[in-house]
């Protein structure tokens, strides 16, 4: 019907109001998220060289191919052009070690889309963040490969692959530790700051953590860069600022309380926040629209839960990193969180504060609503700020 002249007598398509639309689409939102990820990818490649570049490309390609297959076969809604599978692929690559064997990366990408998304019906219907589903799968399937980090800023990283990257499918990857030894580097520097703290009790300094610029230390993308990209997304309203803020606040507060109780056994909260994948998870993973709550109150609860769980898993479990499981648990809790944080409809919040309470100036001739048997349904749910 678009662009076709409509004369009286011609078929007219009748639509309901509104007759104007905000200039925003799913494709546009997703495209902007991809744009904001590009500087982070660039930095990742700068840190780790061609292995990282090939890892991002291979995993994203695997995600796109899987998406295409399921869209073509009609088992999944959505379309290829909406960039959502691209985001999944890039995020998945950023959470994996740069020297992760490419074929394992492809498996992770396939699992992410097939089990994380297509199984539920495609875009918008998934319960768990697809990238994290893929990562959780390979964490269980390839525990050695996923824990093998190489130091960043290795000399010759743009001309040479990390040997494990090019492993044949189903074969044992080349020994990275031996390769590092051959390069006259200490294998310990191939551990992430979190693993170093957890297993060796060594804390990295704040500057190293924030910029990720110090050489020879296995760290992920720079938290400062991620935060800047997140601010861009939040300012352009492509992402809700509440969730990252709640996660960082809650994780920081929990870590600070533990640090205050026993500064010797627990690291400072700053280390907690900027080491590992917490910032990447808070800005890009937990904010995945389909798997996070839609209610403003729910976003705070969800973020707080993830922050708390992250610190608890890091401190009290056998794993050095806890963001992934914390977010997956948060995803699982989303429907419940939404139910208890459903916003109060207009005109039903008489209990919130005396100022907003509806008053009924009655006089003798006026039939009260109670007399007329009018009932205001009471909502049985948690209300923030409600005094019971």
């Amino acid at each position: 019907m678009k662009n076709k002249p409509l004369h009286p007598g011609a078929a007219v398509e009748i639509r309901s109001a509104p007759h104007v639309k905000a200039p925003r689409s799913v494709e546009q939102i997703m495209r902007n998220v991809v744009y904001s990820l590009l500087p982070i990818c660039g930095f990742f490649v700068f840190q780790y060289g061609i292995s990282a570049a090939f890892s991002i490309v291979a995993i994203t390609a695997s995600c796109l191919a899987t998406e295409r297959f399921f869209v073509k076969t009609g088992t999944q809604s959505g379309s290829l052009s909406d960039f959502s599978a691209t985001i999944t692929g890039i995020l998945l690559a950023l959470t994996l070690p740069p020297g992760f064997p490419l074929w394992m990366g492809a498996v992770a990408g396939f699992i992410a889309i097939a089990l994380g998304k297509a199984l539920f019906g495609g875009i918008g219907f998934n319960v768990f963040n697809p990238a994290l589903v893929g990562r959780a799968f390979v964490q269980a399937a390839f525990p050695v490969a996923i824990a093998t980090y190489t130091p960043s800023f290795l000399p010759g990283r743009f001309g040479e692959f990390i040997p494990s990257s090019l492993a044949w499918p189903l074969m044992v990857p080349a020994d990275t530790v031996a390769w590092l030894h051959a390069k006259q580097l200490d294998a310990l520097s191939g551990a992430t700051p979190l693993a170093k703290w957890k297993f060796d009790g060594i804390l990295a300094s704040a500057g190293e953590l924030l910029s990720s610029m110090s050489g020879h230390m296995a760290v992920g993308p720079s938290p400062v860069l991620i935060i800047l990209c997140g601010v861009y997304l939040a300012l352009r309203r492509f992402m809700d600022w509440r969730i990252p803020l709640a996660i960082v606040g809650s994780a920081g507060l929990t870590a600070w309380i533990l640090f205050a109780i026993d500064p010797h056994s627990y690291p400072n909260p700053f280390f907690m926040l900027f080491s590992g994948g917490l910032i990447l998870g808070a800005v890009y993973m937990a904010t995945d629209m389909a798997t996070s709550p839609v209610t403003p109150g729910g976003m705070w609860v969800y973020g707080a839960l993830i922050g708390l769980l992250t610190v608890l898993i890091r401190y009290y479990s056998g794993l050095p990193e806890g963001v992934m499981y914390a977010i997956l648990l948060g995803n699982a809790a989303t429907p419940l969180i939404e139910r208890i944080t459903q916003p109060t409809p207009f005109g039903k919040s008489g209990l919130l504060s005396p100022k907003r309470r509806a008053t009924y100036p009655l006089h003798p001739e006026y039939i009260s609503r109670e007399e007329a048997n009018a009932v205001t349904p009471k909502k049985k749910s948690f209300k923030p700020g409600k005094k019971s």
Binding site: N3, S25, V26, I123, K355, R356, P361
Partner: protein, 507 residues
């Protein structure tokens, strides 16, 4: 407390949307008065409530302002002749409605003289009693000119009975494209204030709060100048945020009180009237003039000369557009014809529908305006939550639409289906282009239908039960009567000393 106020101001309103308003240049162009058309089509139902009943005959000559159809029922409004002429038919005309169905209407052929009937004005309206003002407003057929077209007199009298404390005057005009209220406030601010004071008199309210969106600085200045020295009327600039012109939202912003979800503004001591209505009330009471014309906006990218036009009720939209300057390229790029604003107005299939009392705008939208972005294919919901943030009623549109899609209409109610005001904010912001308002309208209709069916079934059941009872009662009464007769006969036989039967003691 001050801190909280500051916080609230920083936080903003927190609901609604702000579409590009497209109010200028139409709002800045001076008002043009349209000459009377040759034929006027006057639907008998231009308001909420019962349709008016014709009191003229075909062929009858009427003068401008004469009663054509009288109010019928408690909530109704009369219809008057917008010009002098002859009644040529009492028939059906196409309604300004998407269905294109017809409405009973009176067709009036203008004689070109445009002569007034005798008007019963009043030079000292403030000496009139509240009830008399209400009567005059009712007789003039004034209805709410903001769009809902609720008979104003009913509201005024009801407000007087409920002893409302404050009158809220809606100068929000939050719908994009429309600027007729803006224009009225700029051009006739003193008359509007006079009308507001008459409404205060009619309702007994102590003060009036006029809310005007802050994207109309000229109107705010004009109204502020007009109320100088009048303590009872206050002008408030409110943030330009759709749907600020919605009754409950405006009350909340101006008074800080939320109207209860299942209540009406009068329950909290407030009533709301539009600025255009205030002007019509003044004309009705001071000059005795009935509501026979209104200001409306012709706008949209297809309109050659967007602007505000004073139009007689009953003029065809086609003629209004032709007078306004026609359509660009003879309407070749026209994508949608809309009566009212773009957020809540209705799309009509053709222009041959009359202007009624509630018509605030005629929009000729082209494809770029309607689509917003290329294509409008509905994509799956990505649960972005935009609709939740936009909803001025605090509902969860995405949850409701998911349930309605599955046909589970009743399950949408806990998420607020019955509180939905169909403002269109959710559908406006939806990045997946889901026609949420359409879903809700459909579900509301289905639920209303189910409710009707249930009531009908109950009524049938009740009638069947009553019939059953009646039949049983009649049978019982018949049996009792027979027994009584029998007993009577037996008693009579006993008196005569003859045994009635073998039973020696008949009972």
């Amino acid at each position: 407390m001050k801190f909280m106020k500051l916080f609230r101001r920083l936080k903003g309103i927190g609901w609604g949307v702000h579409p590009a308003d497209h109010k200028r240049p139409a709002a800045d162009a001076p008002v043009r008065a349209m000459p009377v058309s040759a034929r006027l089509y006057l639907p008998l139902q231009q308001h909420l409530g019962g349709p008016a009943r014709p009191v003229v005959l075909v062929g009858q000559k009427v003068r401008k302002g004469e009663l054509l159809a009288e109010a019928q029922g408690a909530v109704s409004a009369p219809v008057h002749a917008p010009t002098s002429g002859v009644v040529v038919a009492v028939t059906e005309v196409a309604a300004p409605h998407p269905s294109g169905l017809t409405l009973p209407a009176i067709i009036l052929e203008a004689d070109g003289l445009d002569e007034w009937t005798e008007l019963r004005g009043c030079d000292a309206p403030f000496a009139l009693s509240a009830a008399e003002i209400g009567r005059r407003v009712a007789a003039a057929g004034v209805v709410g000119l903001g769009g809902a077209a609720f008979p104003s007199a009913v509201k005024l009298v009801g407000a007087a009975r409920a002893r409302v404390a404050a009158l809220v005057i809606n100068g929000g005009e939050c719908e994009p494209y429309l600027s007729c209220d803006d224009r009225l406030m700029r051009d006739s601010a003193p008359a509007i204030v006079d009308g507001i004071r008459l409404m205060l008199r009619a309702t007994g309210a102590g003060r009036a709060l006029v809310g005007i969106e802050d994207n109309k600085p000229e109107a705010i200045a004009a109204m502020r100048a007009a109320v100088a020295g009048i303590g009872a009327v206050r002008i408030h600039a409110v943030p330009a945020r759709y749907p600020m012109g919605s009754e409950k939202q405006l009350i909340q912003v101006l008074t800080g009180i939320e109207v209860p979800a299942d209540g009406r503004p009068a329950d909290i001591g407030v009533i709301v009237h539009n600025v255009g209505t205030a002007l019509a009330v003044r004309a009705a009471v001071r000059e005795g003039k009935p509501l026979i014309s209104r200001l409306l906006t012709v706008n949209g990218r297809c309109a050659n000369r967007p602007g505000n036009i004073e139009v007689r009720i009953g003029t065809l939209a086609e003629e209004v557009i032709a007078f306004a300057g026609g359509l660009k390229g003879d309407g070749l790029g026209l994508a949608r014809r809309v009566i009212g604003g773009p957020m809540m107005g209705v799309q009509i299939p053709h222009w041959r529908v009359p202007v009624v009392k509630g018509t605030s705008g005629i929009l000729a939208l082209d494809a770029t305006e309607v689509d917003g972005i290329a294509g409008r294919e509905t994509a799956p919901c990505i649960r972005c939550g935009s609709c939740v943030k936009a909803c001025p009623m605090g509902l969860l549109p995405l949850e409701m639409s998911a349930r309605i899609r599955n046909g589970a209409f009743a399950e949408a109610i806990p998420f607020g289906l019955k509180d939905c005001i169909a403002c269109g904010c959710c559908a406006y912001v939806c990045p997946s282009h889901i026609p949420l308002v359409q879903y809700f309208a459909h579900a509301k209709g289905e639920l209303a239908g189910q409710e009707r069916d249930r009531l009908r079934a109950e009524a049938t059941k009740k009638m069947a039960r009553q019939r059953q009872e009646r039949v049983e009662r009649e049978a019982r009464e018949k049996a009792e009567a027979a027994a009584r007769r029998k007993a009577g006969r037996a008693a009579a036989a006993g008196k005569q000393g003859e045994p009635a039967c073998f039973n020696p003691r008949p009972d």
